[in-house]
Amino acid sequence: MIDLNEANRRFYEWLWPHRDTVVRTARLLLRDSFAADDLAQETMLKAFRALHRFQEGTDARAWLLTILRNARIDHIRSVSSQKDDVRLCDVSESVAEDSNGDGEIDPSDANELLERLGDQEIIDALRELPEDIRWTLLLVDVEGLDQSDAATVMNVPLGTVKSRAHRGRTMLKSILEPRARQAGLI
């Protein structure tokens, strides 16, 4: 058992520097920024209480994201009103299926097109994805975790992460493309 001062030292040395990852992921995950900050806060408090289980030298960021994900799952289970976020699982599945064809984006430089879209448009589109897929993109693409680390965080096989990541990107593309057209970007 570690004393409070040692726990404090470890918390501020090992975990505190990664709190921005927790906050960012929560804010991108949820529409409600207050709920997102509450979730991030709960995550950091849980991490403090569970500090004795964290092993020095392991990936603190992945550990915190695991706690965040578990806290989110607990929250969904306990609060039925949060279904709103989960419901999105169904919305984009059909979109994803429709978007497996060749890219239709014009101009051909997709990078340029995506640059023209603001961050908020990307985030809005991201939030329309099913939550598990959103989680995958947040972990793999936004936070840059290895797919194997993301699999650990999400407690799913590596193959699942790979397929979710691909599906998520494709779905995102299919959401963004009509918006880019609407905005006259293509």
Binding site: L4, N5, A7, N8, R9, F11, Y12, W16, R19, D20, V23, R24, R27, L28, D37, A40, Q41, M44, L45, F48, N100, G101, D102, G103, E104, I105, D106, S108, D109, A110, N111, L113, L114, E115, L117, D119, I122, I123, L126, L137, V140, D141, V142, E143, G144, A165, H166, R169, T170, L172, K173, L176
Partner: protein, 231 residues
Amino acid sequence: MPTSNQDNVSAISRRLAKLREQPLNMSVFDAKLKALLPPDATGEHLQRSLRMRIGTFLSPLRAAAALLILASIAAAYLFLVSAQPVSASPQEMAAIYERAVADQDHTMAVSSIDEARAAIHRKWPKSPDFAAPGNMSVMSCCVHEVGKRQLGCVTFTVDGVPVMLAVADAKEICSPSGEARMISGERYVVASSNQVNMVMRQDNGVWTCLMGRLSIERLAEVAGSTRAERP
């Protein structure tokens, strides 16, 4: 050429990565989180207590250090002031002359320059050596203080007029700012007070002043035949 689906997907991956660069305002979050953490578990608390402990420890040290600095400054000032030679004021020199000639000071009766030098050396072991023409009629000698700096004085007569030769370490006593004159190839500072003329110069680390109620030129002529040097 149309962009392939794979390229577009990769582009989306790259675009998502840029969301990480979005600035995050963490101040409110940090404040709330710290408020919820156990009091001893906040870094600020520990840092504050550490600062207080260090501060408590340092307070007497700081005071001592401040005193030490002040003492050092004062000592340095005193050292610098004491290291500076004192300027011999013509008025003061004239007064010394008057008392020496009137034998009002604790003068020592001597009959030669050598005796005078020996007598002064006894009272002031670090006194400069000096020499003057042997045909002078030496009357007396004494050791004075000017601004707590010692000054060896010998009185003798030149042309029947009492004259005083004062010698001091040039590091301790120097000529006052005054008229500088080149006489017979020597540079003198000349001054006068109460009709007592003075010619002063610095040579071999020794300051000398020859004074009396003689002309500057005559005093300079006599001074030219005196020599002085540090012991």
